[in-house]
Structures are given as C-alpha cells and as structure tokens.
C-alpha cells in the first residue's frame, strides 16, 4: 500500500437549522486503501459523503482530490458533476437503477453525450467486460435490472461508478442487503480493485465486517470525528465505545420456558407475482414468552409473511390462529383487535401518516375506542393528553405531539410506533426489520422492549435481515427462503448463513 493521498477533507462543517451535522471533520484517504467510516445513525456519515459528492454545500471547509497525475487539487463543492469528473463514485444504500433497462444500459446511462445519434454499445460492452474481468464483479448485462437479485443490482451500481473511471468509491452501507457470504464476496472484489489503485470509503454499522475488511477506521459521533486508527490496532469494544460514547449494552436475555401458542399458521399459502410476496405452505407456531426469529435474504417472502400476520394479505389456503381464536376474515383491524401489535418494515411508508400529527398517529389504530372518540367526534383533548403521556413513557423526542410526524427522526418515529404497539400489551408482536436504519441507542431500545414483552408473556415474530440481531434476540430461528420456512435448530451463524443462501447445511 502506498502513501499517496488521493482525497483530503479539510475541516468540513454543515449545519441544518440548529443541528450541527458535521463539525470540522477532516479525513485523508490514501491510494489503494479501504477506509471504514463508522458511526451511529445521525452521526453525520452520510452528510459528510453527500458534501464530498456535491449533494450538499458545506458551511465551511474544503475538499482536495488527486488528479490522474496524483497532484491534489481543490474540488469545486456543491457540484455532483465536478465530483464525478474528479473520479469520485458513490453507491447509495437505495439503488438508483432503472428497472426496465438492462445492466449495460444502466451502466452507460448518463455518461453518454446527449446529442449523439448512435450509441456505441459495442465499445461500452468491451469496457464493462474489462472491468468485470479485473474486479470479479459479475452481473448479467442483458437482463432487465428488475429481474436481478439485490447483490447483482449492487454490483451493477459499483460497475456504473467504475465505468465512469472512479478512482475513489464511496459505498453507503453496502452489506445491509447481502447474506454474510455475499458480503464476503463483495469485500474480496473490493480488495482486488484496491490492488489496481482504487480507494474505497465504506460506511457501515457492522463492526465485524469493518474489522475484517478495512485498512483504517474513522469513527464519527455527533458530527465530530472522535477517532481514527489502523484496523490492525483496533478492537471491537474500543470502537463501539467510541461510537456510542459508552460500552454497548449487552443484550441480557434470560432463559424462559415457552408458554401456550399465541400464533399458529397452518399451511398458509399466499400467491404473489414475485418470490418476495409469495408464501408456500407455511406452518409455524409462536408461543408466549418466546421470540421467534425469521432470518433470510431480502426478498424471500419476508414481506408476504409480515403481510399475513399484519392482516394485509389474505391467504389463499391455510388457517391463522391468534391465541385460541381462529381468524376467519383477516384484516388489519381484525388483527389489532385480536391482540397483534405490528411494527411495519417501512416505518415511513406504512408506519405513520407523516402529514398528520404525532398525537393522531398514536391513536390511528384505535379510532373506534371510546377514549379516542365520542359519537363520531374526536376527543382532541384526551388524544393529546394520551399522546403526551406516551411520548414521555417511550421517550419520543421531537417538536411536540402536535407537530407533523414526519418531522421526527427515524429513531423517534420508531419509538412512536413502539408506543402505539406496546401500550396495549399485545399478546403477539410482529417486528419486521425493527432496527433497520436506527442508531445503536434506538436499536437497543427496540430490543429491550421486545424482551420486556416476552417476559410479560407475549410472543414475538422478529423478521430481520440483520443476522446478528436475530442471533442475539431470538429463542428459536427459522430461515425463510423462496417463500418457505425452514427450522434451523441452531444459533450457528455459519450454518444459518448457508441455509439462507439455499445450500444444504
């Protein structure tokens, strides 16, 4: 590894209203290096990268990028085009691919002159195939991107950046959607590319992969850089302490004997247009005092399972039993009444009505309740008082219960939903990706509440793509694959990873 600096951030600061998202952050990236940018959500990682890429204009600070000759030159800020021209490529968490186009077109899209009459697809293909050969990042080029797997889409995104001659690659939580094995392959590919001189910044929450694959680690907390070290000198506890400012709370999970069944699915089949919304002959039981973890790669039927338990999907075949009660006509309202608390996967899209107030969102599932309405009219005073009490109890912070819910941060939106769900002591809790995108503090709070509910006697279905989360919280782990459930009978990370990938363990 050489010592040539290819990128230097000098004292970048960015303020949003009263929030200082980045405070005088300086970083250097060397040629051929993998720099991991670690920090809780809201620590300012994404803001920092967005300033680098020109999406935000910093309030203070400068950026220098090395040209092809290796000489550092100032980068004009606030211009994504300038960042692209300087050889900076960014792969966002959410892919920016046109699903109806194939990979080749997606990769070349935007880097062709607009006025060209004919597209030189042949030389484009040659160039891409060259990159694939060097990096090992393979993806089918002729298939519409909508039909590719998540891992393949991500490789297309990276190829897109490399096609534009990126010498610096920024990856925002690249492994969030991958199996452990896929993630390992990705990092192998990245290693191969860094040997050719590519420099990589990757943003992550996951300490394990950061320790395994980076050369250097920089930690952000509250917008400030609080630490930087060579990975070889780092240890997991030290980094975690740096990120949260204290030792990470270990999940304390005492052994508990499972009680009576609270949810029984018997031969449930949901037909769907794609594997992600299909369930085939699923049978499972969740008991009181039990957290049932559902592990799996994204898009293997998790959402269909969640929709059935939420009451949003009506199975074609099979029966649903909540407690003693057979659910004859499933529906969201029926499920709520049967005592099912639902934490939806997409909290912004399904969890809250962003344009309505925090208080209104807290009662939205119980509009028929006499504490909420009297003769069809809302009891606004009662709703407000109830919301203030809940906000205190569940530590929902924000501009107050009358403010629009969308003004809350992601973690506080999740706390709002937790408050709504846990307040009524549900006997079954469906938690679908409950900590996705949350910082460590908020994620720990979710885990604590789930364990509390378990201790109280609730059953929990925990659907998560974060295997570490499932391993730490669940009493029993099932793997979902192609719309079917397989019992793992184990808590072994390697074995479960293989089952997720569909290989015989």
């Amino acid at each position: 590894m050489t010592d040539h600096t290819v990128l230097r951030l000098n004292g970048l600061s960015k303020r949003f209203g009263t929030v200082l998202a980045n405070d005088d952050v300086s970083l250097a990236l060397h040629r051929g290096e993998v720099l991991a940018l670690l920090g809780e959500n809201g620590a300012g990682k994404t803001t920092l990268m967005n300033m680098l890429f020109g999406h935000y204009l910093p309030d203070a600070g400068t950026v220098q990028v090395a040209g092809p000759d290796g000489v550092l030159a100032p980068l004009p800020l606030g211009h994504p085009q300038a960042a692209l021209a300087a050889g900076i490529g960014m792969v966002h968490q959410h892919f920016t691919l046109a699903e109806n186009l194939n990979a080749l077109d997606n990769i070349t899209l935007g880097s062709e002159p607009l006025r060209a009459l004919r597209r030189d697809r042949k030389s484009a293909r040659q160039k891409i195939e060259g990159i694939i050969a060097r990096s090992g990042l393979s993806a089918p080029l002729n298939v519409p991107v909508g039909r590719l797997s998540v891992g393949e889409c991500q490789r297309v995104e990276i190829l897109k950046a490399l096609y534009r001659d990126a010498r610096i690659l920024v990856l925002d939580e690249p492994t969030a959607v991958l199996t452990p094995q896929e993630a390992d392959t990705l990092f192998d590919n990245i290693k191969a590319m860094t040997r050719d001189g590519l420099s990589v910044i990757f943003i992550s929450h996951k300490l394990r992969e950061v320790l395994a694959f980076s050369d250097r680690i920089a930690v952000l907390r509250h917008g400030r850089k609080v630490g930087e070290m060579a990975t070889a000198d780092a240890d997991e506890g030290a980094i975690a302490r740096m990120m949260v400012g204290a030792d990470t709370p270990k999940v304390a999970r005492e052994a508990m004997a499972p009680g009576a069944p609270v949810l029984q699915l018997q031969g449930v089949t949901v037909p769907g247009r794609s594997p992600r919304d299909t369930l085939t002959d699923v049978t499972m039981t969740v008991h009181a005092h039990e957290i049932l973890g559902i592990a799996g790669i994204s898009g293997n039927g998790q959402s269909a399972l969640a929709r059935v338990i939420s009451g949003l999907a009506v199975p074609q075949n099979g029966t649903i039993r909540v407690g003693e009660e057979q659910i004859a006509r499933p529906g969201p309202a029926t499920m709520v009444r049967a005592g099912v608390g639902r934490i939806p996967e997409d909290r912004h899209h399904e969890g809250i009505v962003g344009a309505m107030s925090v208080a209104e969102n807290m009662v939205i599932e119980r509009l028929d309740d006499p504490s909420v309405q009297a003769r069809g009219l809302l009891r606004r005073g009662a709703i407000r008082a109830h919301a203030e009490a809940l906000a205190r109890a569940y530590d929902v912070r924000g501009p107050g219960v009358d403010a629009r819910a969308r003004l809350l941060s992601g973690g506080n939106i999740q706390k709002l939903i937790l408050a709504r769900v846990f307040e009524h002591a549900p006997r079954l809790i469906l938690a679908n990706q409950p900590t996705r995108g949350l910082d460590m503090g908020a994620a720990a709070e979710v885990g604590r509440r789930l364990l509390q509910a378990r201790a109280r006697g609730a059953g929990v279905v925990l659907i998560s793509e974060d295997l570490d989360e499932v391993l730490s919280l669940a009493d029993r782990i099932l793997v979902i694959r192609d719309g079917q459930l397989v019992d793992t009978h184990s808590h072994d990370r390697e074995r479960i990873g293989l089952m997720m990938a569909g290989e015989p363990a």
Binding site: G17, L57, P58, D59, A60, G61, T62, V63, P74, P76, L77, G78, H79, S310, G311, L312, G331, P332, A333, T334, M335, V336, R342, P344, H349, E350, G351, I352, V353, G354, A355, M356, E360, I364, E365, L367, D368, V372, Q373, G376, L377, L378, R380, R404, L407
Partner: protein, 357 residues
C-alpha cells in the same frame, strides 16, 4: 446556479399568504393584456370593483355566481383531500339538475311541502350516483379516476341533450331543448326582494362550515385525511381505505349534484344544456386556490365569482373582452401551483464553482 431543496415544514404564513398573493399577481399580470387592448388598467379594475361591490344588485350577482362554485369547490376539495381526483363535477352537476327537474316539474304528484326537500335529496343522490362507477373501477381495477370521471362528463352531457329532446322536454317549450319549469313550491326562495341571490347560498355556506368541522374534528375526517396523506399507512392501521374512498366519492358527487340543484331550483327554474358555464371545472380551481380547505373554498369561490362578475361589467363599460376573467382565473391557478411548489421547496442560490467559506 439555483438549487431546489425540500423544506422540512411549510411556514404557516405561506399557507395563508400564497393564495392571496397568487390572486394579486394574477390581477397584476392581467394588466398587460388590458394595456394591450388599449384600456387603462387602473380604470378597468375600478370598473371591475364597482361591478362587484358597487351596488346591492352587484353584490347579489356576485353571490349568485359564487353559490355553485362553493358546491363544486367543496366537491373537489373533499375528494382531493382523499387523493380521489374527481374531475367529473361538471357531469355530476347536470345529473343533479336532471333529477331536480324530473321530480320538481310536476310530473310526479308530490305534496308541495315535501317537494323541495325531495329535490335536494334526489339531486344530491343523482350526483353521487355519478361517482359510483368511476370509484368502483378505481378500487377494483385501478382504473384512473381522472380519465373515467372526465370522460363521463361528456357522456352525461350527451345523455342530457337526449333527455332534453325526449322525456324531460317541456311540452309547452315550442320544441326548444329545455325542461319544464320547476314548480314554485320546489324552488329555493330568494334571499332578497327582486334580487337573484337565493337560499342555495345558505345551503352552500352551511355545508362548507360542516365540512370544515367534520374534516378536522370527526373520526370520518381523520380517516379521510389519513387515506389521502398515506393510504398504505391508513390501510396498515386498519382504516377501510376503499370504504373511505367510496364515502368521499359519494359526498363529492352529491355536492356537485347540489350545485346543479341550486342552479335549477334556485336560479334558472328550468334546465337547458348550457346551465353551467363550466362550474364543475372552475370548482377544481376554487379548491386548489383554497388549498383544499372547505373554509378556504368559500373565500376562493367569492374571489373567482368576483372576477367573473366584475370582468363582465368591466367589459361592458370599457369595451374590452370579458375573456379577461378566464385569464385571471387561470393565471391565479398557475400562481397557486407555483406557490405550492415554493411552499414545499426552497430555492437556494449557489455561486457556481465556489466553495462556501
């Protein structure tokens, strides 16, 4: 370089100020064609003001014109709040009007006391019926209600012409395509002697107040707002989204139907195929100007009615075309749309190629 950033929230002054400012800008812009037509804009606007507020008669005319616009404006505002794009108020207005003359012109033997309530109820029901099929198609098959409700307008208009030359034609009408008049007991009473403003205005105002109250304070309004703002979250929370949509569709169609009832039984007394100069479509502008608030609909309807009535009298006095009214109305809509954009986003000036300090 200018960049566009989303605002975290819209300042309250903006939600109120933008419609008012839009109206003023539209009037200011309309001065340009006035100048081009050789008129002194200040004198012209003076005429306009006099035409609207210069006499009791002028005010009565303006209120008469505002009445159907409040009904159709409410029809659009409520539907749009639920993201149900009812563009069919024009057709639903005629359905209401047809129902009004069908029962009101004495073809059925109904005791006089019940005639007016019956006309109102059946007129609203007829308008509501016009929304049933488009809403069913939307809910069941995902058919775009913009297309279905819009096209239904033309079908209803042709159906109207058929009825006016057939079953609904006035036997005493010398062959003109017009209906028999509504009986006196079936008419909405005038509010003032020798003025055209009628009790339809009171009905419209009461409904606007009621809609405003129900939207903010009732469980029904809560459901409606939730469905409109985020249908997925509403469905997840156990709100019957389709049921809410059907409810608001029927209400919206009913309000538009009442516009027809009010025009026939309040003003004209009989039905012709040119009863409405596009009240249904103008109602959409009213609703947008009002920011989809029922109370705002009343103000916006008064404004647009003033522009129309004032422009008429200005064009008589100054000899300029009364199309100016359409121009002002459409420009104020454009201004409101631009204003809505400004309320949601802010423009940030970025000096090209320069880093901030």
């Amino acid at each position: 370089m200018i960049r566009i950033e989303a605002r975290p929230s819209t300042p309250r002054a903006m939600t109120l100020g933008i419609p008012v400012l839009s109206a003023l800008i539209a009037l200011a812009l309309a001065a340009i064609p006035l100048l081009a037509a050789g008129a002194n804009p200040i004198a012209a606007y003076g005429e306009m003001l006099r035409g609207v507020f210069g006499s009791v008669f002028a005010v009565s005319e303006m209120l008469t014109r505002a009445t159907p616009l409040i009904f159709t404006g409410l029809a659009a505002a409520l539907a749009f709040r639920a993201r149900l794009w009812n563009i069919g108020a024009e057709g639903q207005l005629y359905l209401g009007a047809m129902a009004a003359v069908a029962v009101g012109s004495g073809a059925l033997d109904i005791p006089g006391l019940f005639l007016l309530p019956l006309i109102v109820v059946l007129g609203a029901a007829a308008g509501a019926a016009g929304m049933v099929v488009p809403t069913f198609l939307k809910v069941r098959f995902g058919a775009d209600e913009v297309v279905t409700t819009l096209l239904l307008n033309f079908i209803i208009l042709i159906f109207l012409q058929m009825m006016l030359e057939g079953p609904l034609q006035d036997p005493m009408g010398l062959g003109w395509p017009q209906s028999a008049p509504v009986l006196d007991q079936g008419m909405l009473p005038p509010l003032m002697d020798r003025m055209r403003v009628h009790a339809g205005l009171i009905v419209a105002l009461v409904l606007a107040v009621l809609a405003q109250f129900m939207l903010a304070r009732s469980v029904w309004g809560f459901r409606l707002r939730a469905v409109g703002e985020n249908a997925a979250a509403a469905r997840h929370a156990g709100i019957g989204v389709n049921r809410s949509l059907f409810g608001v569709a029927i209400l919206s169609g009913g309000l538009a139907g009442l516009a027809g009832v009010s025009e026939v039984a309040g003003l004209k007394g009989y039905l012709t195929a040119d009863l409405s100069p596009g009240f249904g479509y103008t109602g959409i502008v009213v609703a947008m100007l009002a920011g989809l608030s029922p109370a705002g609909v009343v103000i916006a309807a008064l404004f647009i009615a003033s522009v129309f009535v004032g422009a008429d009298s200005m064009s008589r006095a100054m000899g300029v075309s009364s199309f100016l009214a359409d121009l002002v109305v459409s420009m104020s809509l454009l201004c409101v749309l631009v204003g809505g954009f400004i309320a949601r986003y802010r423009l940030v000036w970025v000096r090209a190629g320069k880093a901030a300090r």
